[in-house]
């Protein structure tokens, strides 16, 4: 019997599957062997109806619309745990999870708290809805003054991309001030962009807002072009990740370092300044976007070990196996949604680990983390003595300034 060819419009699953394979290394998704490692290692995988491996199974079965209906991909904190453990090296975080969030976002299916952060970013260039004019307010009173590029009219060695939380969050501002003082003591020739700086946009991108990310890259790129500098340094691993890996894809390409890398390279100058002992057991939390996403594990540890008195201890989840603080991929702005779904906070899990190994200080190197962990300390039993400090703050304490 002759069967005539029937042309059918491709289904949503087919279109999505094809689009996924067109992403960098996207064709690897076809090599998924359904081992389920990704779903097991995902910190929230246990409560997703469709954790990553099941998402792929649903895609192959042509039932991806069911995945979108559950909308629990918003539990994904883009921590790269799935990606880094995938034996087939499928770009799960950057590809599958982010593309799925993009689809939900385009369809207008966005948890309301995330919506606020995205609207604020559109309107003010930062997710918190702060006045962009006050972006450099954290630096007031520091001597010598922190230079703002638009005011100095000369090249600098280091352009410090401060980032959203480091600029606006009252607790994180303290770590920015510490870092500024360290730069001053090391006589670093640096400047900041002040009101001209916009959100790096990386977490918005990983929350599915690709278009907004492109807008921010365009805005920041134009500002970078106005000034001369040798390199960018940032304390925000999300900004670091964006500037290092994502901005160049859109034509904005500058050498960038996380401040822990930058200071580590200057350890010979820094070490003699570290005179005061900090006698403490210090656990270091690897931020996802410094560690797993970018392979930077040693510089933060070397800085901590350079502080006299510090005993560096490792938590059960450490380095490539680090546990996310819960703030990535839009998690910073989905606290209520995630609590509703999970009745658990990743930051509390992390604090329990630090307490369990008898740490006195939990040292961090990400601008999302200080408030997240300080909040968690208030919630976890027997954690009240655990002190949360950014590495820059510990360095400054040892310097004795």
């Amino acid at each position: 019997m002759a069967v005539s060819a029937v042309t059918q419009r491709p289904t949503f699953s087919e279109i999505f599957y094809t689009s996924l394979q067109k992403l960098p290394d996207g064709e690897r998704v076809r090599a998924c062997l359904q081992c389920g490692t990704c779903s097991g290692v995902c910190p929230f995988g246990y409560l997703m109806d469709y954790p990553p491996s099941k998402m792929i199974a649903a895609l192959r079965a042509g039932m991806f619309d069911r995945v979108l209906k559950t909308d629990n991909v918003w539990m994904c904190v883009s921590c790269y745990a799935c990606t880094s453990s995938c034996p087939a090296q499928i770009p799960l975080t950057a590809g599958l999870m982010t593309r799925t969030k993009e689809e939900l976002l385009l369809a207008g299916n966005v948890p309301i708290e995330l919506q606020d952060a995205l609207e604020n970013t559109q309107r003010y260039g930062n997710p918190m809805g702060e006045s962009p004019r006050k972006r450099a307010a954290w630096a007031r009173g520091i001597e010598p003054p922190v230079k703002i590029m638009s005011q100095i009219n000369r090249p600098v060695d280091v352009l410090w991309f401060v980032g959203d939380y480091a600029s606006f969050h009252p607790r994180v501002q303290l770590s920015s001030r510490a870092l500024a003082r360290i730069f001053n003591l090391l006589k670093v020739d640096f400047g900041i962009l002040g009101h001209e700086e916009n959100s790096d946009g990386d977490s918005q991108r990983l929350a599915g807002e690709r278009g907004l990310f492109e807008l921010l890259v365009d805005k920041n790129g134009k500002v970078f072009q106005k000034y001369q500098f040798n390199q960018i340094v940032t304390a925000d691993p999300h900004a670091f990740n964006a500037l290092k890996n994502e901005y160049p894809k859109l034509g904005v390409n500058y050498p960038v370092q996380h401040y822990t890398q930058y200071l580590c390279a200057k350890l010979d100058l820094l070490r003699p300044l570290l005179r005061h002992e900090i006698k403490a057991r210090v656990a270091y939390h690897d931020p996802c976007y410094l560690g797993r996403a970018n392979g930077i594990y040693q510089p933060p540890r070397q800085l901590l070990q350079a502080i006299p008195g510090v005993e560096l201890v490792e938590m059960p989840h450490s380095a490539a196996n680090s546990l996310c603080c819960g703030g990535g991929g839009g998690g910073m702005w989905l606290e209520g949604y995630q609590w509703e779904q999970a009745h658990a906070r990743l930051s509390e899990w992390r604090v329990r680990e630090a307490v369990a190994i008898g740490a006195d200080i939990l040292a961090v190197a990400c601008t999302y983390e200080i408030p997240r962990f300080e909040d968690a300390v208030k919630m976890v039993q027997k954690a009240s003595r655990l002190v949360i400090r950014d590495i820059s703050e510990l360095l400054l304490e040892s310097i004795g300034e």
Binding site: E102, L105, L106, G108, V110, I112, Q115, L118, E119, Q122, R123, Y124, G129, E130, S131, R133, G208, E209, R210, G211, L212, E214, L215
Partner: protein, 254 residues
């Protein structure tokens, strides 16, 4: 049926408001504008009505900083037609003038329903809706929190102080002052806004050289002033705490 939404830009309170040198208006230089929040609800309600088949949505804004962005955002959310009124000399005008500019444009669009925010925080006297209704000779209901179009009528839910609500039917065409849409204003992906900027035609209508006769003159605009028995204590946390202890001691409270 044409559902007309009039939106306006108001001072964004994320920036501190400054008074102009003349002392009777806001300093426009330092001002950042945003769409009036109630107008965003009016737009959301209009889009919801459209999605239920009530008609097409036309959004109108006075030209000025941010007006085009607001209109393209409205188009990305589902508005069928966007219009800016060009030729206005000042970004902030009184509702009397605004209503007189809007009314003939709205009339020319043969409105079935006119939606606007019930009030705006720049004047807080909420008269745009009633003024439009007056100029268009249409009925007006304010503080609307829900609307459904049915058989030449609009069924609405109106909110009253004290937690009361009423359901009522209003003959179409009508003007509604929206307090809240049935759902929070939706988010629209930035790529959709960008797409709207490329594909949707922004219509310009020149406003007539006409001002309502201003019957109200602002004599003085000012920041809250410190009362006689109030004091603001300056200094760092320790200094403030020390001063507070002194004050409590002076007042015999310790």
């Amino acid at each position: 049926m044409n559902i007309i939404v009039a939106i306006k830009l108001v001072p964004d309170l994320v920036e501190e408001l400054k008074i102009s040198e003349e002392g009777n208006s806001l300093d426009l230089e330092s001002l950042r504008l945003r769409v009036n929040e109630f107008d965003e609800h009016a737009l959301e309600q209009a889009i919801l009505l459209k999605e239920r088949g009530a008609g097409r949505v036309i959004v109108i804004a006075l030209d000025g900083d941010g007006a085009e962005d607001a209109l393209f955002t409205a188009a990305a959310k589902g508005a069928d037609q966007i219009i800016k009124l060009t030729g206005n000399p000042a970004p902030l005008v009184s509702n009397h003038t605004l209503a007189r500019w809007l009314a003939p444009v709205i009339k020319s669009l043969q409105p079935g329903l006119v939606l606007t925010g019930v009030q705006a925080h720049n004047d807080l006297d909420g008269p745009l809706g009633p003024l439009l209704a007056e100029y268009l000779d249409l009925p007006y209901v304010g503080y609307v929190a829900k609307a459904a179009v049915k058989d030449g009528e609009v069924e609405i839910r109106k909110e009253y102080p004290g937690g009361l609500a009423a359901e009522m039917e209003v003959d179409l065409p009508a003007v509604l002052g929206v307090q809240a849409a049935e759902q929070p204003p939706r988010y629209v992906a930035f790529s959709r806004i960008r797409q709207a900027m490329k594909t949707v035609q922004l219509e310009g209508r020149r406003i007539p050289d006409l001002f309502a006769e201003e019957q109200i003159t602002v004599a003085r605009l000012f920041q809250p002033e410190i009362g006689e028995r109030a004091a603001i204590i300056a200094g760092d946390v320790d200094e403030i705490a020390a001063r507070l202890v002194e004050i409590f001691a002076e007042l015999d409270l310790l």
